[in-house]
């Protein structure tokens, strides 16, 4: 290392070696092999491609994405953006993508939490708890996800109908139509309140940093949660009150066939979510367990010998190190969860696969339909991969 700074080492760099055209030369062999393999692959692809073009012609199958701007006419049960069957296929597909993202994002978060809990439970000193976690992992991993989704959907359908809906808390209804939550009629005051709350969250985060800095300054630890509570709840409430506390509750009520008003969590979404989360959590649990076990026992001992408490050891010493083992396989699980959401079609959650399927059926544009599905998943998958790789690089250990 020090050598490179030595002036005498400022050398012109290595000379280029000439390529000798001989089978003995490694580089010649390399080039020949590569040309061979690439040639084969390219010609196979070309062959398939030309077949396809020919077949499309012969079978008079029209290609093109013109259908995207046609009226879809397909009903969609739940959507994050306003949607009506008279909208275009493009919009319908967008709804599908958003639905996929919705279940994937929430699923990834919940599966990570549940998986971590189960993974830590497997390491618990309580024999019953750790064995139970082990059984959970084993059973969940060994049953097809499709079966599990159907199972959850069946269970949820076992809930009473809307007329006999369970009403655990006032305004909350639990029926086979899903969970209905009360909501308020949304006015600008609420927007302000929400804004203040977001600001409050940011401030809490800043405050936590300041508190840490202060502790660094005088050594005394400070509680963050009282201030956090005030900032995240109290302040927005005050703002809301200042606006005259507009509160027109939008309580779900039974009208005709169903509840009107309020927020809905549909059984399809819920079943898919539970299914994906419990399934993926089974795998994540194993990853987390392996990660924690991969951290040398000596790290625990050293931290404990310094007088750190167990929770502190876990938070400051063990988990940061376990993460390095956990993150790469975790990426695969996130990808799997996202891709597995394509099974949604079996239980009536309209994700991108479901909607693209219907689209390609109605329009006959099979090639484009499949291309869209693949493109959407590829984009999501590669984004997850990129993010996780970046994160992984960020937390990588510094070595010599």
């Amino acid at each position: 290392m020090s050598a490179s700074t030595d002036p005498r080492f400022a050398s012109p760099g290595p000379p280029k070696r000439p390529l000798r055209l001989s089978w003995g030369d490694e580089r010649v062999r390399g080039i020949v092999w590569q040309v061979l393999v690439v040639g084969i692959v390219v010609s196979v692809v070309y062959w398939l491609w030309s077949n396809t073009v020919h077949n499309l012609e012969v079978r008079r199958i029209a290609t093109g994405f013109g259908f995207l701007s046609r009226e879809a006419g397909l009903p969609i049960g739940e959507s994050l953006i306003p949607y009506d069957p008279s909208n275009t296929y493009l919009r319908a597909l967008t709804v599908g993508v958003l639905n996929t993202l919705k279940v994937a994002v929430i699923g990834v978060i919940l599966a990570t939490l549940l998986g971590t809990v189960v993974g830590i439970a497997r390491l618990s000193n309580n024999w019953l708890l750790s064995k139970l976690a082990a059984v959970y992992v084993e059973v969940i991993r060994d049953l097809p996800l499709l079966l599990q989704l159907l199972f959850w959907y069946t269970i949820l359908q076992g809930l009473p109908g809307p007329r006999q809906a369970l009403n655990p808390i006032d305004g909350v209804f639990l029926s086979n139509r899903g969970m209905k939550l009360p909501f308020i009629e949304w006015t600008s005051a609420h927007w302000w309140t929400l804004l203040v709350m977001v600001v409050g969250i940011v401030l809490t985060w800043l405050y936590a940093r300041v508190a840490r800095a202060k502790q660094y300054a005088d050594g005394q630890p400070r509680k963050v949660w009282p201030a956090g509570l005030a900032l995240i709840l109290g302040f927005p409430l005050a703002v809301w009150a200042a606006f005259g506390a507009p509160f027109t509750p939008d309580i779900p009520e039974l009208r005709g066939f169903n509840f009107r008003g309020g927020l809905t969590v549909s059984p399809e979404f819920f079943a898919l979510l539970i299914g994906l989360v419990t399934y993926t959590a089974g795998f994540i649990a194993e990853i987390v367990r392996a990660g924690i076990q991969a951290v040398n026992q000596g790290q625990w001992e050293a931290a404990e010998a310094l007088g750190l408490r167990r929770t502190e050891v876990l938070r400051k010493i063990v988990l940061p190190q376990a993460l390095r083992v956990i993150v790469p396989p975790m990426t695969s699980q996130y990808l799997n969860l996202t891709k597995n959401s394509s099974l949604a079609v079996a239980i009536g959650y309209q994700d991108i696969v479901s909607i693209a399927n219907t689209t390609l059926n109605q329009t006959g544009q099979a090639i484009e339909g499949i291309a869209i599905i693949m493109l959407v998943y590829l984009t999501i998958s590669l984004s997850i991969s990129l993010f996780m790789n970046w994160y992984n690089a960020k937390i990588a250990l510094v070595e010599r």
Partner: protein, 320 residues
């Protein structure tokens, strides 16, 4: 026997010695394997009929279960010779997908089923309801078209597999279930207490179902078409599985004689044995028997599928 008529598909089938028939992956009454794994159903009998016409052997059929998504490419690519798979005859399928529908063996229409206890009498009362529907066919589009023209709001629950859709409806996830009336009837009759479910009188679409073949092989299309017509004619003439052999011997009606191949050369014109309809009817029965055997148990009435002279729509062009 040297076939008088030939075409690429027919030749291939003859050479292969079996008919490859695309059927549904499982639809009660139409196509469904029984406990022993034998395919049974209304559509399946049409496949059998073709095999009987060709070889007088109903077992020379290979059934390929096809899903809503892959049925058309399966036919286009030659993976199957024909589709006998409750497929609605539409203009675009006939033309741009390159198929030939060989007739309508079942007049269907989309309807609704609700629980009797809801007290709903017509579909118009369904405003605000949650409706279960299967994706991937014309059903969804019909539903939205109908809802828009009647200004009805509804929440769809779109589930792919029949079993799950029905379960969702029965469990009360939906207020109504919409599909072809035939399907509704089948589902209703499968319930422990069918009376608890009502099929609403409204029929919101036309769903003419029939077998289809690839465009461009008229010989084969003709054969399939005239088998269906022959089955209708047999019923019209009162010829059934029980009496077809005697009819072939002794029936004096000219129509009957042509059908049984005693006069005329109709079979030969289609490229099969002149007695092909005798064999078919003897083995499978006429159209009415097919219907009763397969669709009767699932609770379907003849309705529009009665013969034209009994108030229905089933009408065969002259078998001559």
């Amino acid at each position: 026997q040297q076939p008088a008529v030939s075409g690429p598909t027919l030749d291939t089938i003859r050479q292969r010695g079996t008919l490859i028939c695309g059927v549904n992956t499982g639809l009660a009454g139409f196509a469904q394997p029984d406990s022993q794994g034998v395919w049974r159903g209304f559509d399946v009998d049409y496949c059998r009929a073709v095999a009987i016409a060709l070889w007088n052997d109903p077992s020379k059929v290979r059934y390929v279960p096809t899903t809503a998504q892959n049925r058309f490419t399966a036919l286009q690519s030659g993976e199957v010779d024909m589709l006998a798979r409750n497929t609605t005859w539409t203009l675009s399928r006939d033309t741009s997908l390159g198929f030939d529908f060989t007739g309508i063996n079942f007049y269907d229409g989309q309807g609704f089923m609700v629980k009797t206890s809801t007290g709903v009498k017509t579909a118009r009362e369904l405003d605000g309801a949650t409706i279960c529907v299967q994706p991937g066919t014309t059903t969804e589009q019909n539903l939205t078209d109908w809802a828009r023209s009647n200004r009805i709001n509804f929440t769809p629950v779109v589930i792919e597999r029949l079993e799950e859709v029905v379960q969702a409806y029965v469990a009360g996830r939906c207020d109504a279930y919409t599909t072809d009336v035939s399907g509704l009837a089948a589902t209703r009759s499968a319930q422990p207490r069918p009376a608890e479910h009502t099929i609403l009188p409204d029929v919101i679409s036309k769903e003419p179902l029939g077998p289809l073949v690839r465009h461009g092989d008229q010989a084969f299309a003709d054969l399939v078409r005239w088998i269906h017509n022959g089955l209708l004619t047999a019923e019209e003439l009162g010829i059934n599985a029980g009496n077809v052999r005697q009819a072939a011997q002794g029936d004096t009606r000219p129509d009957a004689q042509r059908l049984t191949g005693r006069t005329g050369d109709l079979g030969r014109m289609l490229g099969v044995d002149n007695a092909f309809m005798v064999n078919i009817v003897a083995t499978l029965g006429n159209y009415g028997e097919l219907f009763e055997r397969n669709l009767g148990p699932i609770g379907l009435q003849r309705g529009p599928n009665a013969l034209w002279n009994r108030g229905g729509l089933q009408y065969s062009p002259p078998f001559r």
